[in-house]
């Protein structure tokens, strides 16, 4: 009995070591978003709470915690409360298989890629359930839009991941990273460039971010699926959304930019000079690049029209990914160096 419990406590400790930094990252990502978008739009952004406004996320969290959570009378109370919980749970659960460094992973499972795909596909339930349980026309419209959109882009994402697992000959995320070792030009971003773009665009669409934020669509359907939510439940939706954004960025860095591998690998001189940097630092830096691109996209692009979203997903992204499956299949058969030897 006790022999069983000790590894369990050890696993829980590891989970906390992963989740606490993730949640801090979520809090400061909201701050970074407001700052970055502010500077892109020639504003200052939050600068009142603390030095440079660094206390802003904490102030926001405290404010949302103390606000009243209103339960609409015509809503379905149980589902209304469950929906925000479903928003956070998959976004945090998916971190279990992300390799932060060589061996630095909570669950080094063989089907890591599939696990990510399966867990992130659960996120749509929070939008669907909240939209239906709110018993509001706007929330319902947002939920319907989001469901159709997420299912469409999941197909493109699934095909993109098929190409990655073909190229790496594994669905284990650590194996995928190790297959890319050998420096900047050995990473998968170059041979899988179209798929890389497809995956990232689908990731933006999966997380319901601009320019694909049909579920929210402030100027069209007020706030979409979370129009009836307030207080801590409203905060939960945002926690889930930002956690899944950071997750998508981390997965993109793992699959296409070589995860924890150093970019100076194979370059004489530089490789030795940067050997002291731990893999975790490279991984975090690569994730930051994508997190910044998310904000950049949000600050610059207008919202897509709904039929154009569907057209992009079905008629452009999916065919590109399918064609690249064939291309990579041929490349693997021909053993094209340095990726498919």
């Amino acid at each position: 009995m006790l022999n069983e419990l000790i590894p369990l406590i050890w696993i829980i400790a590891k989970i906390l070591v992963i989740l606490i930094p993730v949640l801090i990252a979520v809090a400061y990502y909201t701050y970074a978003e407001r700052k970055v978008i502010g500077y892109i739009q020639v504003r200052i952004g939050p600068n009142r709470v603390g030095v440079f406004g660094l206390g802003q996320p904490i102030a926001d969290a405290v404010k949302l915690l103390f606000k009243e959570m209103i339960l609409p009378t015509a809503s379905n109370p149980i589902l209304f409360v469950i929906a925000p919980v479903i928003a956070i749970a998959p976004a945090l659960a998916a971190w279990a298989v992300i390799p932060f460094g060589d061996g630095l992973v909570l669950a080094n499972i063989n089907a890591g890629l599939l696990y990510i795909l399966a867990i992130t596909s659960l996120g749509v339930y929070s939008v669907l359930i909240s939209g239906w349980a709110s018993n509001s026309k706007y929330a319902f419209l947002g939920a319907m839009r989001s469901a159709a959109q997420v299912v469409s882009y999941e197909i493109a994402m699934g095909f993109a991941l098929v190409v990655v697992l073909m190229a790496a000959d594994s669905t284990n995320l650590s194996q995928i990273v190790l297959h890319q070792s050998g420096g900047f030009w050995h990473w998968f971003w170059l041979p899988l460039l179209p798929v890389f773009v497809v995956f990232f665009i689908s990731g933006v669409a999966e997380t319901n971010r601009l320019p694909f934020d049909m579920a929210e669509g402030e100027s069209e359907i007020v706030a979409g699926f979370h129009v009836e939510y307030s207080g801590i439940a409203f905060a939960c939706f945002f926690l889930g959304e930002y956690a899944s954004i950071i997750l998508i960025c981390a997965v993109t860095a793992t699959l296409f930019l070589g995860g924890w591998l150093s970019p100076f690998q194979g370059i004489p001189g530089l490789e030795q000079a940067f050997a002291f940097v731990p893999g975790l630092v490279w991984f975090v830096l690569k994730t930051w690049v994508f997190m910044f691109i998310f904000l950049w996209i949000r600050a610059t692009f207008p919202r897509y029209r709904y039929d154009q979203i569907m057209r992009l997903g079905w008629k452009i992204l999916i065919p590109v990914a399918v064609v690249w499956i064939a291309v990579i299949g041929i490349a693997i058969q021909l053993h094209i160096p340095p990726w498919f030897t």
Partner: protein
Amino acid sequence: MYIEQLVFIVSSAALIGCALMMVIAKNTVHSALFLVMCFVASAVLWILLEAEFLALILIFVYVGAVMTLFLFVIMLLNLDIISREKGMFVRFLPIGIVLILGMLAMMVYVISPEHFGHLVPVHESADYSNIKELGMVLYTQYVYPLEAAAALLLVAIIAAVGLTFRGKAHRKAQNINEQLLVKKEDRLTILKMPSEGKEE
């Protein structure tokens, strides 16, 4: 072993409970959500059997896509009238009992030791890959049934398109090129006219 048994007991109890609730629930959306929980619970059981590929595909395909579309349709239909109707459960109970007994007999026959083999799951070594094993069996031993199933699915896709395609004449489609090539002059005319002024 203790924790594994605990997980097994909890998830199978959840599976049975959710399956019952799916049938009993008055609200159709609740029924569909209980079905989703059933899928998740059975995925946990498959993980315990080290069939991680099947378990994750069950979640990805059924929970992530199929049930989403189910819910999509159910939520759009106004099913309140049907779900309020009383006596449905009792009326269909005799047929249900017959079906349950039939399925139970089939299950007992199939899962009996002479057909199913060992009843205790064997733990594979760490380098065992469920996906590779499945692929090996599917693309060698069962390659013709696999191809037949693929052809069947392709036929179903073509049939679905054929059933819903109403021909070019009745279709309202947008020509994206035309939309993008629109110039200011096509939409906007600027008229010059003298201002009317206030009449004194």
